[in-house]
Amino acid sequence: MINSRFFNRSELLGFLALAVLLFLILPLSLDIFRLNLVAKYLTYAFVGIGLVLCWGYGGILSLGQGVFFGLGGYCMAMYLKLEASSVANTKIQSTPGIPDFMDWNQLTSLPFFWKPFHSFPITLLAILLVPAFFALIIGAAMFKRRVGGVYFAIITQAIAAILTILIVGQQGYTGGINGITDLRTLHGWDIRTDHAKFILYFVEVVLLFGCIVAAQFIRLTKLGRILVAMREQEDRVRFSGYSVANFKIFAFCAAAVFAAIGGAMFTLEVGFMSPSFVGIVPSIEMVIYTAVGGRMSIFGAVWGALLVNFAKTSLSESFPQLWLFGLGALFIAVVLAFANGLSGIWADHVQPRIDRLLASRKSKSAAGMIADGAPAE
């Protein structure tokens, strides 16, 4: 079916359902602590949306999205840290005006790459551009040489490991294993208050919907169809006159930017950033959220991030040791039985029933309307 609408009927319903849940139901029913937890879960939804484009559509499995999540998060954290390290706040240090961990590590001046993060506009740009540039370099190096599939996944995983080691090792420049902590204000606005957390939640949800719309836009252009085509028949795309590498680089960079926005929001919501959100384990968890939600569905990625993290919080509170096994089992179950995750289950089993129910009601009202037959996707 050639569909010229931006959302088809079921996507529109998905969009509205998510909007009602995130804008109304959750803020009205949860206390600020729980709402802040939801905000934390949702930061992974950004990564998921990127993975839907890059992995679900483009077939490029990246096991290193934590790198971009972390880069976005660290860019934001560096700005916040500099603001928290004003000369007045740090006058007990041997070098006032630099972040506390630098002082502890005998640094006497701010490293050059920290200096741009005094400026808020530059920080915002860096959150988007640093991960995109990094993805561009990795992507160009890999895809131009036709490295793909499992090899690409392993290399991205290695990069996640390397970046973690680098951050941990360069304690004086990065805050080391503890990360960048004790963040206080954003452009003079205290982010630790309940009120600020409430506002930040809504800022994040608005950004999330912005990313959903952006991803949907990409999906509906010819580029979105080329991603699908590439996943199936890379050679045919090449011999239709396209540079496959460039399209892969684009998808990878787009996914990196989405992940980075999530990372920056994570820093704001949680109030710190550390290497434990960069490495192999978080990167793989991000892929699992996407797989559980459904790697072909932008909304599925959001639901996956919400539900798996909710399960993680509730289960790991009661059975901390078992949680990782549970997560692994969940992933195996999804891969083996439900390749398209929750959204696949919805589209194959729930949606048809609703349609039938609606259709029988419609025919009862004797209007004789013909179902518009939009595709389930």
Partner: protein, 251 residues
């Protein structure tokens, strides 16, 4: 290497083409020339290097030495997508269509516009595109299946769809690798009809085993054997060549 003066009216001039895989020369010092609007069929026993020759021309395999000139442009130095943009289209042996996309979308992707990342983001499905897609869909007998996902098509229909995808590219040189293999008798006849229609204003390079089909369409036949040319000429000439009968047709 055999790079000398070639008359300019050749569309494709292959000279001294060699490719070796770990010392094995799949194509060995091969030279042949295809003229404008010529239909050339390559035949030969299995492993003669037929598909490798097409792979070399379209850039899928890199030549060890030799040259491939297309309209005076050296193809061995270009990337696959640049070769396509230069005007060479390639159909693979097994139908390679995009099964998760509809027939319309398959054809649209091959439409020669918006082939860069930015171009494909801003690509509009305007009337020119729609008209051209419908025109080609009619030629390949899939006009009423435009909204069908390609995985629902039969083997023969997939082959037609891939031919359609090449047609919409409008290449000057069309390369077909066993276009009727695996088709039913009626599909075969329809394909021959289709090919006869689409080969009119372009040069075509075909690999085919079906001798009747070859006789129907070929202007000139090149027989390959162990990566080298065994015989070349009209079908009549080739058929009566004792060397050809010995290694290929006699079986």
């Amino acid at each position: 290497m055999l790079v000398g003066h070639q008359p300019k009216d050749f569309l494709l001039a292959v000279s001294g083409l060699t490719v070796s895989f770990d010392g094995f020369k799949a194509v060995n010092d091969l030279s042949f020339y295809v003229e404008e609007n010529e239909i050339r069929v390559i035949i030969g026993p299995n492993g003669a290097g037929k598909t490798t020759v097409l792979d070399l021309i379209c850039g899928k395999t890199r030549a060890t030495s030799g040259s491939i000139q297309f309209r005076g442009q050296e193809l061995t130095r270009l990337r696959e997508n640049e070769i396509v943009q230069a005007g060479v289209g390639r159909k693979f042996q097994t139908p390679s269509v995009f099964e998760d996309l509809t027939v319309f979308e398959n054809l649209e992707i091959s439409f020669p516009r918006g082939r860069t990342v930015f171009g494909s983001l801003t690509f509009q499905r305007d009337d020119t595109v729609k008209q051209r897609v419908e025109e080609v869909a009619e030629m390949i007998f899939l006009k009423d299946r435009l909204n069908t996902y390609a995985d629902q098509l039969s083997h023969g229909q997939k082959q037609w769809l891939e031919i359609g995808m090449l047609l919409i590219q409008d290449p000057d040189l069309l390369m077909l690798d066993e276009p009727v293999a695996g088709m039913s008798v009626s599909e075969r006849a329809k394909t021959a009809e289709l090919l006869n229609r689409i080969i009119k204003d372009r040069s075509v390079l075909v690999i085919e085993h079906d001798m009747k089909f070859v006789e129907d369409i070929a202007h000139k036949v090149t027989v390959l054997h162990q990566g080298q040319i065994l015989s070349e000429g009209t079908m009549e000439h080739v058929k009566n060549d004792p060397k050809v009968i010995e290694v290929y047709l006699g079986h």
